[in-house]
């Protein structure tokens, strides 16, 4: 699905990713953990194609195709989805109108016609129920005045609508109370299939109780310094990151 080889990237002359290697296959769930400032969110942004970051070396391949030259929207059309750590508030654009535009532009890129309005409304209803989103919520301005939990549920709702091949959940658990966490995790689990893959970026092990990863990677100082099974997440929860830092220092 996604293969990252020796990826180096910087922003504003500051080197952040210093040789990332990652191989994610369809049907897998990968967790990327690490202390603050280790480069987790940067990795997510670079995969999504954010232009402020510059890739110096290495490559990212999606289903065998190098995506370095693709724009943000082209990557989205190819099935990369980034759930934002801080979803942007956009007053004046309703959730429904945004979703409609997003889905139809994605269809257009695939040579499909706009989804008929009736079908669209049905899909929106179905997917919003999955995330236990209130109907009134859909006619509100995108993320404006949403609570932390509402924002994250809205992100996963968008994921449900777009059915991406690769979903990257960037700190989706931050700011969630236990109920919202359960709803979000439940949504992600229902969307998981043998044909897609999920990358969970998180600081804590909490979300991983609900979405069980096949692999856990520890990112530190721009590199993956340790990979393992889900037990690694428990170990990190218990011992913190200091031993990782020490090991990496040696």
């Amino acid at each position: 699905m996604l293969k990252i080889t020796n990826l180096h990237a910087h922003i504003d002359e500051k080197s952040i990713l210093k040789g990332i290697n990652l191989d994610i296959k369809a049907g897998e769930v990968h967790a990327i953990m690490g202390p603050n400032g280790s480069g987790k969110s940067t990795l997510a942004s670079v995969i999504a194609g954010k232009e402020e970051y510059e890739v110096d070396k290495g490559e990212i391949k999606l289903e065998g195709q190098n995506i370095d030259e693709l724009s943000v929207e082209e990557r989205a059309h190819k099935g990369i989805f980034l759930s934002f750590q801080y979803p942007v508030e956009i007053p004046g654009v309703t959730v429904t109108n945004f979703m409609k535009t997003s889905l139809n532009e994605t269809r257009k890129a695939k040579g499909l016609d706009d989804m008929p309005a009736k079908e669209m409304l049905k899909l929106i209803r179905e997917k919003s129920e999955l995330l236990e989103i209130d109907r009134k919520f859909l006619s509100r301005s995108l993320n404006q005045g949403f609570s932390g939990g509402e924002k994250k549920r809205n992100e996963i709702f968008q994921m449900a609508m777009l059915e991406p091949k690769l979903a990257i959940l960037d700190e989706t658990d931050s700011g969630l109370d236990i109920d919202a966490l359960r709803i979000v995790a439940n949504g992600v689990n229902k969307l998981k299939s043998k044909d897609n893959a999920v990358v969970i970026i998180t600081h804590y092990q909490r979300l991983l109780d609900y979405i069980v990863p096949d692999f856990v990677h520890v990112l530190y100082n721009g590199k993956i310094v340790k990979s393992g099974s889900k037990e690694l997440a428990f170990e990190l929860e218990e011992k913190g990151y200091d031993w990782i830092k020490q090991e990496a220092g040696n």
């Binding site: 724009s71 929207e73 945004f98 997003s102």
Partner: protein, 438 residues
């Protein structure tokens, strides 16, 4: 010959041609002409015209009136109407009334022509009470008064609620190499009466036109007026639009101005609040590019206590376009408990676009709430990334953010079909094919 000389020298011929025998109006015309003659066209040295120069516009060799009449078929001009609603229509072609495109009435209310009102004795008292009473004495408005002849005359009598909107449309056909138009509208809304009006000036060819339009509006006690100006003219069409509004106690008047096109557009919009407990709303969306120029010059004069005014102007400027906002709020000493709000927000889409924003507050009362704010910014990079990461291409994402930026002005448009049309005009102006409304 310079345009000014041409106008002055054609005045006698003009008055002879229209053969109107009304000494009251004749007197006003003559006085107005001499004011124009002494003041001339405004220049950049005039404070109110500091950022807008008429020089380039005035150098065209304008015909002062159309020599021949040009017939238009409804099907050819239908797109310029809001055609999916039932409405009254007052339509002019090259300054002449086009009866076959119009739908007027004298049934309890008058929705008809200025020429008719100026001529018929039964309108004399209204004309003498209202005509040219609140229009400023400046050169351009005086020029319009000197050549007053045609336009819309609307009189809504006490307690009447006009159920369909009125569309006032001025077409210019390009039959003249260059044409100067000077429509004059008078709108009188009596006590407790209500009306919605849509006004548009539309050139049909690339021949230059200059429209110097003056509208006087009177809203009596508890009168309600919603006025919409749709400005989406061709690249060689320029408009100087001066609207003067006198409001009585407990009245509500709103003016929305949508400026998406034309070469040079100057909107002078003046509100005079003569009474207590009323509100005035001034809203505008400007979206221009190329070398287009749009200037909003507003005045709200709070004369009596306990009134409100709300101003909200949004501007989006790309290419080498120029925007001007000059908004003045004047609160008299007697106008205690005034609430006056003004906001002017602008997006500059590239480096060459310019906005000159000048809010002015002159407050002589001591117990008032007045605020003004002006912002000039660019599209938010994070918002752009967010939309694009959801598969919305750059151009469409920009358009969506621009639409969102202007959206709160559109929300207060009370005619759904008009709102829908404005949405489509915005999508077209931004070069995208996405629906903004759902």
């Amino acid at each position: 010959m310079e345009l000014k000389e041409k106008l002055v020298s054609s005045f006698i011929a003009f008055e002879n041609q229209i053969s109107l025998d009304n000494p009251f109006v004749h007197c006003m015309r003559t006085e107005a002409l001499s004011r124009f003659e002494s003041q001339g066209f405004p220049e950049k040295k005039d404070e109110a015209w500091k950022y807008t120069s008429l020089k380039k516009v005035l150098k065209e060799d304008f015909s002062v009136f159309a020599k021949t009449e040009q017939a238009l078929e409804y099907k050819d001009v239908q797109p310029y109407f809001i055609h999916d609603i039932d409405s009254y229509k007052i339509v002019f072609v090259d300054g002449k009334y086009a009866s076959h495109l119009s739908q007027t009435t004298h049934d309890g209310i008058d929705i008809c022509l200025m020429s008719y009102a100026l001529e018929k004795p039964k309108y004399r008292s209204v004309i003498e009470n209202y005509f040219n009473k609140i229009a400023e004495q400046n050169s351009l408005t005086s020029l319009n008064t000197a050549f007053v002849n045609e336009g819309a005359y609307i009189h809504i009598t006490k307690n009447k609620l006009v159920e369909k909107p009125i569309q006032i449309i001025h077409f210019s056909t390009g039959n003249e190499a260059a044409l100067l138009l000077q429509p004059r509208n008078l709108i009188v809304v009596d006590e407790n009466a209500q009306v919605q009006i849509i006004e548009r000036h539309q050139s049909l060819t690339s021949n230059p036109t200059l429209t110097n339009c003056v509208t006087e509006i009177f809203a009596a006690k508890r009168g309600i007026i919603d006025y919409y100006k749709v400005q989406n003219d061709r690249q060689n069409a320029s408009l100087i639009d001066s609207t003067y509004i006198d409001q009585g106690r407990e009245s509500h008047v709103s003016v929305h101005t949508f400026s998406f096109g034309g070469k040079l557009t100057r909107n002078n919009l003046n509100f005079y609040q003569n009474g207590e407990y009323m509100d005035s709303t001034l809203k505008g969306v400007t979206i221009i590019g190329n070398k287009q120029h749009v200037d909003h010059n507003t005045l709200v004069h709070h004369i009596e206590p306990n009134c409100e005014s709300h101003q909200d102007y949004k501007g989006i400027f790309s290419d080498s376009s120029v925007g001007v906002f000059n908004g003045k709020v004047l609160v008299d000493k007697e106008a205690q408990k005034t609430n006056a709000f003004q906001s002017n927000n602008n997006l500059l889409v590239n480096d060459k676009a310019t906005i000159n924003s000048k809010p002015q507050l002159e407050i002589f009362a001591d117990d008032v709430k007045c605020s003004h704010g002006c912002t000039i910014g660019q599209l938010d990079d994070n918002a752009m990334f967010y939309l694009r990461a959801r598969g919305i291409p750059e151009k469409e994402a920009k358009a969506l953010l621009m639409y969102a930026f202007a959206n709160n002005v559109l929300e207060s448009v009370k005619i759904p079909q008009l709102k829908n049309r404005i949405n489509k005009l915005i999508a077209k102006k931004l070069g995208v094919n996405i629906g903004f409304d759902l």
